[in-house]
Symmetry: C2
Amino acid sequence: MTNQDILQIIENRKSTRAFLNKEVSVGQLEQLMRVTTRAPSWKNAQSYKVYFITGAKKQELVEEFYQAAVVDKLEPQPVYAYEKNHPSFIKKRMFALGMDLYSHMGIDRKDKLGREDHFKKNFRGFDAPVMAFFYIPAPLGEWSLLDLGILLGHICLVAESMGLATCAQASLAIYPQIVAKYTKQNESMKMILGMALGYADPQDKNNSFRSERAPLEEVMEVI
Amino acid sequence: MTNQDILQIIENRKSTRAFLNKEVSVGQLEQLMRVTTRAPSWKNAQSYKVYFITGAKKQELVEEFYQAAVVDKLEPQPVYAYEKNHPSFIKKRMFALGMDLYSHMGIDRKDKLGREDHFKKNFRGFDAPVMAFFYIPAPLGEWSLLDLGILLGHICLVAESMGLATCAQASLAIYPQIVAKYTKQNESMKMILGMALGYADPQDKNNSFRSERAPLEEVMEVI
C-alpha cells in the first residue's frame, strides 16, 4: 500500500486511460477484494461476482473484443441499454467532459477520425494488464446495481491506495457473450460492466487530464 | 476529519443503527459532498441529487414516515420494488445477517414482536440527526443507479473519515410521496433510497455488531 490518506486518494484517483505494461499479482487482486467486500450491501447480500482476466487470456479477450467492436462492428448487446434521455442540465456536463478531454489531448473537436481513434482504445481496456468484469445474478436488477456501485466506489479508492489505477468502462458492457467465453459464466449471472486495472503510465498525456465537477448547489440541498 | 487511513476507515465503517442526539452542521454536509462528488460517473454525468433533511423538518418527516409505515401501514410504493428472487446462495447470506444481528441484540429468533420492534427503528432513520435522500432523473435508470452506488460508497467512507456514521436504508425508499413534500422535488427526479447520518452512539449495543462477509472465492475469480 502506497498511500492511505482517503482525501488524498479521492483527490488523486481519476479514470485512467493509459497503463504501464506491468503485471498485477493474484495476491494484489485478492487483497483488493478482501478489503472492498467490507462495502455495505442490501441485507449483506453481496449480490455480485467479479472476474479478473489477466495475462495471455486477457490479451486474447482484448483482441477478440476489439475486433468485434472496431473491425466487425458487431451490434452492441449490453444487458442494460445505454441511457439517452438525460435532462439537458446533465447533458451539458457530459458534453463538457468530451470537449475538455479532447481539448486536453489536442484533438480538434471537428477531427472526427482523431476522436474515434482515441475512443477506440476503450475497447482494448486501454491495454491495462487486468480487465475486470462485474456480474450480478440474472433475476436481480436495480437494488443489486446500487450495491455493485457501492462496491465499485470502494474498488476505485482501494486500488488507488495500492498504487493501482482504474477506469470503470461501460464500453466493455457491449459484448457480454464474448466475455462469457472467458469467465465461463452461464446465464444465471449477467455481466454489467468492465474495468481496466493496472499501473497508470505517468508519461501519457491522458493521465494528466482532470475532469470538472458540477457546482455543489446542483447536486445537493440542505433542508 | 478524525481518521484518514482508508483501510482503517473501511474496517471501522458499519451500518450504524443508533445515533447520538448531536447535530451535523451544514458545513460538514457540504464538505462531505465536496469530497465525494469526485467519485466517477457515466461520462461525468453526476446524475444524482442528494437532499439532507435536518433539525425540525427532519423531526417532522420522521414522525410522518413512521406513522405511515408503522401505524397506518400504508402500502409501500418504492420506485424500484424490493427484489425477491435472490438465488439461494445469496439468500443464505441475507438470512445469516438477520440471525447474527438479532442474536447479537439478544432477540430470540422466535420473538416476532421483538424483531418487529427492532426493525421499526428503520422507519425513524434510527433517529439520526440527518436523513439523506438520493434522487436520480426520472427518465434514467440502471446506469445512473450504478453511478449513485459509486457515490454512496464514497459517502459511507468519507463520512466515517469525518467521524460520522451512516446507514444506507432501502426502508426509507417506500414512501417517495412523503419525502417529496419536504424536498419539494417534482416528478422530473425520482427518489431511490435514504440514509441515516450522524454520530454513532458508542454505548448502543447495535453498534458493536459486525456483519460477516462471503468467502472471497464466492465473489471473485482470477483468470
